[in-house]
C-alpha cells in the first residue's frame, strides 16, 4: 500500500474503528472470554481444588456423551418437533400480525386513541409468565373457568381443558401472540415512521388508493426489517420460551405431547443433578443449529435479494 493511500485509509476508517471499539471491547470481555467454558460440554465435569479452570482441565473427556440425552429418548422427536414447530408458527403469525397491527395503528385517524391502544397492548409484556398462567387458568379451569361457565350457560358440556392436547397448540399460539404483539409491533411502527413522507404525497397526487400506498410504499419499506427480524428469530428456532411452555400449561402431564419442548425437557431432566456438562451441551447444540440455520437463511436471502441479507 502506498503511503498516501494508507493515510487516506486510516483517516477513513479510524473514526469508525473508534466507534466500534467500546462495543468490541465489551464483546471480548463479556462474550468471548467466557467461551472457553464450552469445553465442559465434552467433559465429565467434576470439582478439583484450584478453581474452575483447574476443575475443567482435570475433568475427564467424554466426547459427545453429554449430548446423548437429547437424542436417545423416544421423546427426542417430539420435543424437537414441538420446539421447531411452535417457533415457526410464532415467527409467521407474529410477523404477519405485528406488521398488520403497525400499519393499522398508523392509519387510524384518531391518533390519540391509537396511542392509547399501543400503550395498552404493552401491558401483557410486563406480566410474568407465572401471572399469565393464573389468568389462563381463570379462563380454563374445570369448575370455575370462565369458558366452561359460558359453555354451561349455552347448554353445552364442560371441557377439561388441561387434559386435552388438541386445544393447546392454538392456546399457546394465542397467548404468545397476545403477550408479545405490543412489543413486536413497535419495531414496525418505528420503521413506518421513518418512511419518507414525500413518497405518500406524490402517490396521493397520482391518485393511488390507500391499499396501493400500503402495498407499494409501506410494505417495501418494511421489508428489510421483516427480513432481519425473521432471520434473527430463525437463529433461535431451537430454543423455546421456557416460561410459556412450563408455566402456562401448568405442567399438566397429559399435555406433554404438545407442550414439552427442548428447554422444558432439559429442565426436568437436570432438575436433580444440575449437571453443568449436560446443560452446556444443550446450549451448544442449540447454538450450532441456530448458527447453521441463520447462515442458510442468509445465503438464500442473499441469492434472492442481495441488499436484504444481514451479512
Amino acid at each position: 500500500m502506498k503511503k498516501s493511500n494508507k493515510k487516506h485509509f486510516i483517516r477513513k476508517n479510524c473514526p469508525l474503528l473508534l466507534m466500534v471499539l467500546p462495543g468490541a471491547a465489551w464483546l471480548l470481555i463479556f462474550k468471548y472470554l467466557p467461551m472457553f467454558g464450552v469445553v465442559i460440554a465434552f467433559k465429565d465435569f467434576r470439582y478439583y481444588p484450584g478453581g474452575f479452570i483447574s476443575s475443567m482441565i482435570h475433568s475427564e473427556w467424554v466426547g459427545f456423551k453429554n449430548f446423548e440425552f437429547l437424542f436417545s429418548s423416544n421423546d427426542a422427536y417430539i420435543i424437537i418437533r414441538n420446539t421447531v414447530g411452535y417457533n415457526l408458527v410464532f415467527i409467521i403469525t407474529g410477523t404477519i400480525l405485528s406488521v398488520a397491527f403497525a400499519i393499522m395503528l398508523n392509519e387510524m385517524t384518531r391518533k390519540k386513541l391509537s396511542k392509547i391502544f399501543q400503550t395498552s397492548m404493552f401491558f401483557p409484556y410486563f406480566l410474568s409468565w407465572v401471572i399469565v398462567s393464573y389468568f389462563v387458568y381463570a379462563y380454563l379451569s374445570s369448575d370455575k373457568g370462565i369458558i366452561n361457565q359460558m359453555l354451561l350457560s349455552l347448554g353445552m358440556d364442560k371441557t377439561s381443558w388441561y387434559t386435552q392436547p388438541k386445544f393447546w397448540p392454538m392456546i399457546l399460539v394465542l397467548v404468545n401472540n397476545w403477550k408479545h404483539l405490543g412489543y413486536s409491533t413497535v419495531y414496525y411502527l418505528a420503521a413506518i415512521c421513518s418512511v419518507d413522507k414525500t413518497y405518500y404525497e406524490s402517490a396521493m397526487l397520482d391518485g393511488a388508493t390507500k391499499w396501493q400506498q400500503i402495498k407499494y410504499i409501506t410494505l417495501p419499506h418494511l421489508k428489510p426489517m421483516i427480513i432481519t427480524l425473521t432471520i434473527l428469530s430463525i437463529g433461535r428456532i431451537f430454543s423455546a420460551d421456557f416460561g410459556l411452555f412450563y408455566n402456562v400449561p401448568k405442567q399438566s402431564g397429559p399435555l406433554f405431547p404438545v407442550t414439552n419442548v427442548i428447554d422444558t425437557y432439559v429442565y426436568r431432566a437436570l432438575m436433580y443433578s444440575g449437571d453443568i456438562g449436560m446443560s452446556t451441551a444443550t446450549g451448544l447444540f442449540q447454538a450450532v443449529i441456530g448458527f447453521l440455520l441463520i447462515m442458510l437463511t442468509n445465503y438464500i436471502v442473499k441469492k434472492i435479494d442481495k441488499d436484504s441479507a444481514i451479512f
Binding site: M204, H221, L229
Partner: protein
C-alpha cells in the same frame, strides 16, 4: 425541524377506520383487563382472595398489602431506586454503544465491517454458559455483589445492533451521508448531525426496549447480587414466584420444612401489590418514548 404533517392527505375511509378502531379497542381491553385484575387483587382482603380467587369486583377490599409493603419500609424503596438507577444508566450506556457499533457496520466503506459484523453476530448464538460467565464477571471484571453487575453484563445486545443497523441502512440514504462528507463532515459529525436525527424513531425504539430489558431483568441479580440493598424491584417479584414454584416442586420431599418455608412467603395480595408497583412506572415509560415515533420526519427536513 420536526414538522407535523396535516392529516388530510393521509387519512383512510371512514368504514375501515371504525372497524379498525373497534378491533383495537377490544384487543386493548383484553390486554388491560388482566392487569386491572391484578390491581384489584392487590386491593382485596387476603382471605377473600384465597376463598374466591381473582376478581375485578372483590367482595372485601383492603389496603393491607400496601400498608404492609410500606411498613416493611426500606426494601421496596431501595429496590425501586436500584431499578431506576440501573435502567437509566444502563440504557444510556447501552444505546450509545449500540448506535455507534451499528452505525459503523452500516457504512459500506468501513473496511473491517465484515469482521466486526461477524464478531457481534457470533456471540448472539454462542455463549460460554452460566458458570464461565459468572467467573468472568466476578473474578475478571470484579463485579461481584456490585450494582455494576446489573448494568455491564447486559450493556450490549447484539440483536439490537443488527436491528439498528437495518434501520440505519433503510432509512438513511447513503447519498445524504456522502454529500455531508464531501462537505467536510467527519464520521462523528455525520453521525450526530444527520444519522441520529433521521433515525430518531429507531433510536427511540431501541432505547425503549433497552429500558424494558433493564427494568425487567432479574437474572443478573440472582447470579451476582448477595446483598439485599442492591436488589432491583423485578428480582423481589421473581423471588416470590420462584419460591412458590420451588415449594410446589419440592414440598413432598421437604416434609415439615415446607411449612417453615411457606411461612416466609408473603401473602398473595402482597405479591400482586408488588406487581403493580413494579409495572406502573415502566408502563409510563412507553408514552415517553412514543413521542418520538413521529411520522413526517423527512430527509428534506433534516437537510434544511
Amino acid at each position: 425541524m420536526i414538522k407535523k404533517t396535516k392529516r388530510s392527505f393521509h387519512s383512510i375511509n371512514k368504514g375501515p377506520d371504525i372497524i379498525i378502531t373497534i378491533f383495537f379497542a377490544i384487543f386493548a381491553l383484553s390486554c388491560i383487563l388482566p392487569f386491572l385484575t391484578v390491581i384489584m387483587s392487590s386491593l382485596t382482603d387476603e382471605t377473600t382472595l384465597i376463598k374466591n380467587g381473582y376478581s375485578l369486583f372483590p367482595k372485601h377490599m383492603s389496603l393491607k398489602a400496601y400498608t404492609y409493603i410500606f411498613d416493611q419500609g426500606q426494601q421496596i424503596i431501595k429496590s425501586f431506586g436500584v431499578s431506576v438507577f440501573i435502567t437509566i444508566i444502563g440504557t444510556a450506556i447501552s444505546v450509545m454503544m449500540t448506535a455507534f457499533y451499528a452505525y459503523a457496520l452500516s457504512r459500506p466503506k468501513f473496511r473491517y465491517k465484515k469482521f466486526f459484523n461477524y464478531m457481534a453476530f457470533f456471540t448472539m448464538l454462542f455463549g460460554g454458559g452460566l458458570v464461565p460467565t459468572y467467573l468472568v464477571v466476578t473474578h475478571v471484571v470484579g463485579l461481584k455483589d456490585s450494582i455494576w453487575a446489573l448494568i455491564l453484563p447486559m450493556a450490549l445486545n447484539v440483536f439490537f445492533i443488527i436491528v439498528m443497523r437495518t434501520f440505519f441502512k433503510s432509512s438513511v440514504p447513503d447519498s445524504i451521508i456522502e454529500a455531508a462528507q464531501i462537505d467536510g463532515a467527519g464520521e462523528f459529525m455525520t453521525f450526530f448531525k444527520i444519522v441520529l436525527p433521521i433515525s430518531l424513531p429507531s433510536v427511540a425504539t431501541i432505547s425503549l426496549f433497552t429500558t424494558l430489558g433493564y427494568w425487567n431483568d432479574w437474572f443478573n441479580a440472582l447470579l451476582y447480587i448477595d446483598s439485599a440493598h442492591i436488589t432491583p424491584l423485578q428480582y423481589l417479584l421473581m423471588q416470590i414466584d420462584r419460591n412458590m414454584q420451588f415449594l410446589i416442586q419440592n414440598a413432598s420431599d421437604m416434609g415439615m420444612g415446607a411449612g417453615e418455608a411457606s411461612n416466609q412467603l408473603p401473602a398473595e395480595t402482597v405479591k400482586m401489590a408488588i406487581v403493580v408497583i413494579s409495572t406502573i412506572p415502566i408502563a409510563c415509560a412507553y408514552p415517553f418514548f412514543q413521542k418520538y415515533f413521529i411520522q413526517g420526519l423527512t430527509v428534506g427536513a433534516v437537510k434544511e
